[in-house]
């Protein structure tokens, strides 16, 4: 049983195909890592799964065997897909607190429970509750807020777009451990886009892939791929003979 399946999946922006003819499947309770050079389409793939506007999608996407290709963003979110944005927008006058409460399905007047408050504090966001979302947040503060919203949404499929970029070592550890725990406790699945792989040190991911030249090119142990990428870059990774034609599908 797969939580997500994409068939003959392609994404076009304007008249340029960013992704073409991809098939992939994600299993439940797993952590997937997605590598790829800048501009290869990692954010595009996540956005298309979440249903964000501006992307022409071809092929089909199934969530829990349900065809979600034509569903709206909130319908997908309600089914259990959540996104931590690479570049979340600043929204004037909309408080972090208000959004967190919506994520938890609480009314504005309701208080956070003790455990929710603990979570907020562990993400060092208690002082940010009354701030406009992302307005004046530092890079790392945004990343923390993105992940916390995601946990409060209690989704089954977490799409994380560079959660570890520009994040300090302590926060990396916090995020990695919390994410691993969330996955284990909720039998959730995460797809993590990362360049440096910093967050992976505190997690136990099984699968990785490299997005290159409009398709998914490699399949191997994430730590090995990370190491190889560091050593010789994407060109050499692409030439590696462990490449498989139908990535992520042979498990």
């Amino acid at each position: 049983m797969y939580i997500l399946r994409a068939e003959n999946f392609g994404v076009r922006i304007g008249n340029r195909w960013i992704l073409k003819d991809i098939d992939f499947r994600l299993k439940r309770s797993q952590i997937y890592v997605l590598f790829g050079p800048n501009g290869s389409g990692k954010t595009t793939i996540i956005s298309a799964i979440a249903g964000l506007p501006g992307y022409e999608v071809e092929g089909k996407i199934f969530f829990d065997d349900k065809d979600i290709t034509d569903l709206e963003i909130d319908e997908r979110a309600n089914l259990g897909i959540s996104v931590a944005f690479q570049y979340p927008p600043e929204i004037t006058g909309v408080k972090l607190e208000a959004i967190l409460k919506r994520c938890l399905d609480k009314d504005p007047e309701d208080d956070f429970s003790e455990s929710e408050m603990q979570m907020i504090e562990s993400f060092k966001l208690a002082e940010f509750l009354n701030r406009d979302i992302n307005v004046g947040f530092s890079g790392g503060e945004r990343k923390r807020a993105e992940m916390l919203q995601m946990f409060f949404l209690r989704s089954e499929l977490l799409l994380l777009d560079e959660p570890d970029s520009g994040v300090d070592v302590d926060t990396l550890k916090l995020m990695g451990e919390q994410l691993q725990k969330y996955i284990d406790d909720n039998e959730a699945t995460a797809l993590i886009v990362t360049h440096q792989g910093g967050i992976l040190e505190y997690m136990d991911p099984k699968y990785a892939c490299v997005l290159f030249d409009s398709s998914l090119q490699c399949f191997a142990d994430p730590n090995r791929i990370a190491k190889e990428l560091r050593q010789c870059g994407y060109q050499c990774c692409i030439q590696c003979n462990r490449k498989v034609t139908r990535p992520w599908n042979d498990h």
Binding site: A50, I73, D74, A77, P89, I91, R102, D105, Q149, L153
Partner: protein, 377 residues
């Protein structure tokens, strides 16, 4: 005497009148207010001063004040020119009343004062004259609400207000306008600030109106006097708003900041003006105006003006007009909000009371007023 027939408690005011006032933000429990005054159509029907502040403020109909104190004439028409336009001339000729507020020296009025000017008759032309004097070292918060009763339909409101802020005084004045689709409105007002005076002026207009044009002026004449002028405007259903304010910085180290947020939808046309003039080299001012267009039928024209006649003055402005961002809507939708909820959250956020210079207790109340009036539309 007619006087004795007047209600002595807000609960004695006719229900349909009181409910409309409450809907526009008037506090029913007037023990929470330093004073309350209600003027309906052409008559002041209610005035009350909280016992706690009896010796510190005078709050009555302006006609009574003129009769009682000859010196009030020394203030009248001193900063608004009675020949400014046809509307000032009309009010100078004849007016039905308005409020007179006098806050005495060093008084610390910890509860807000409230005034409600209501039009309840059909096709009425209401002519109001108000005067506010805050003596040296005193501080006060005032909420002034102009309401049109829902049964009044077509009406026009001409209102003159003159504010006098003496040395080191503090006035936080919040004006709420709550009109209806066929109302014509021409307020004319001006404030003069002595040394060290602080004037915070907040303006909220959230219901439709036919045509509102106003351009209040604050003269910061005193050394280190400071004016902060903020507005939250929600124009819809063919509402025409031409709204601006000016600050004239004459005093050394005088300062002004203006912040406005305007939302235009459903055929509303808005002209947003702001003007800061610096005539002292140590003056400084900042103007910020943000407009949000919700559809193709609406229109915003933003006109910020900075004028400096002396080198050294520091003036700046930022202005933006745009439509609601798809990225923001999508972001909130990934947090399980429907598109509609996401849009209303963004709009409500845009009308953030945080931009108003309100004390925190008042901020909650004004937030409630925005909820009330925004919901009603």
């Amino acid at each position: 005497m007619e006087r004795s027939l007047k209600p002595s408690d807000l609960t004695e005011i006719p229900h349909q009148i009181l409910e409309e006032a409450v809907r526009a933000g008037i506090e029913k429990d007037d023990s929470k207010r330093a004073g309350t005054l209600m003027h309906v159509d052409r008559e002041t029907i209610y005035t009350k001063i909280n016992e706690k502040f009896r010796n510190q403020i005078e709050f009555m109909d302006v006609k009574d004040a003129i009769k009682k104190y000859p010196w009030v004439d020394d203030y009248r028409w001193k900063i608004v020119d009675r020949d400014k336009d046809e509307y000032t001339r009309k009010v100078a000729e004849d007016f039905s009343g308005g409020y007179f507020i006098h806050v005495k020296e060093n008084a610390d009025i910890t509860f807000p004062l409230q005034a409600c000017l209501m039009m309840a008759q059909k096709e009425i032309e209401q002519k109001i004259y108000n005067i506010i004097i805050v003596d040296e070292g005193a501080n006060v918060n005032i909420i002034s609400t102009c309401v049109q009763h829902s049964r009044a339909k077509k009406a026009s409101h001409l209102g003159i207000t003159e504010y006098f802020l003496k040395k080191d005084s503090y006035l936080n004045f919040t004006m709420v306008h709550s009109w209806s689709e066929d109302t014509f409105v021409r307020p004319r007002s001006a404030a003069v600030l002595d040394d060290g005076a602080v004037f915070i002026s907040n303006y909220l207009s959230l219901r439709p109106a036919k045509d509102v044009q106003m351009y209040p002026v604050a003269y910061c004449n005193g050394k280190s006097s400071k004016a902060s002028i903020n507005s939250i405007l929600y124009g819809h259903t063919n509402t025409k708003l031409d709204i601006g304010s000016a600050a004239i910085l004459n005093g050394p180290e005088s300062a002004a900041d203006m912040t406005s947020r305007a939302i235009s939808r459903n055929g509303s046309e808005m002209i947003l003006r702001g003007r800061i003039e610096a005539h002292d080299p140590t003056a400084r001012g900042h103007l910020e105006c943000k407009g949000l267009l919700l559809d193709e039928k609406s229109f915003i024209h933003s006109i910020p003006e900075l004028i400096a006649s002396k080198g050294g003055a520091e003036l700046s402005h930022e202005a933006s007009v745009g439509k609601i961002s798809d990225k923001e809507i999508s972001y909130l939708m990934t947090r399980r909000m429907s598109e509609e909820d996401a849009i209303s959250m963004i709009i409500r956020g845009f009308m953030d009371v945080g931009i108003l210079g309100l004390p925190s207790q008042l901020e909650k109340e004004v937030d409630r007023v925005i909820d009330l009036t925004a919901d009603a539309s």
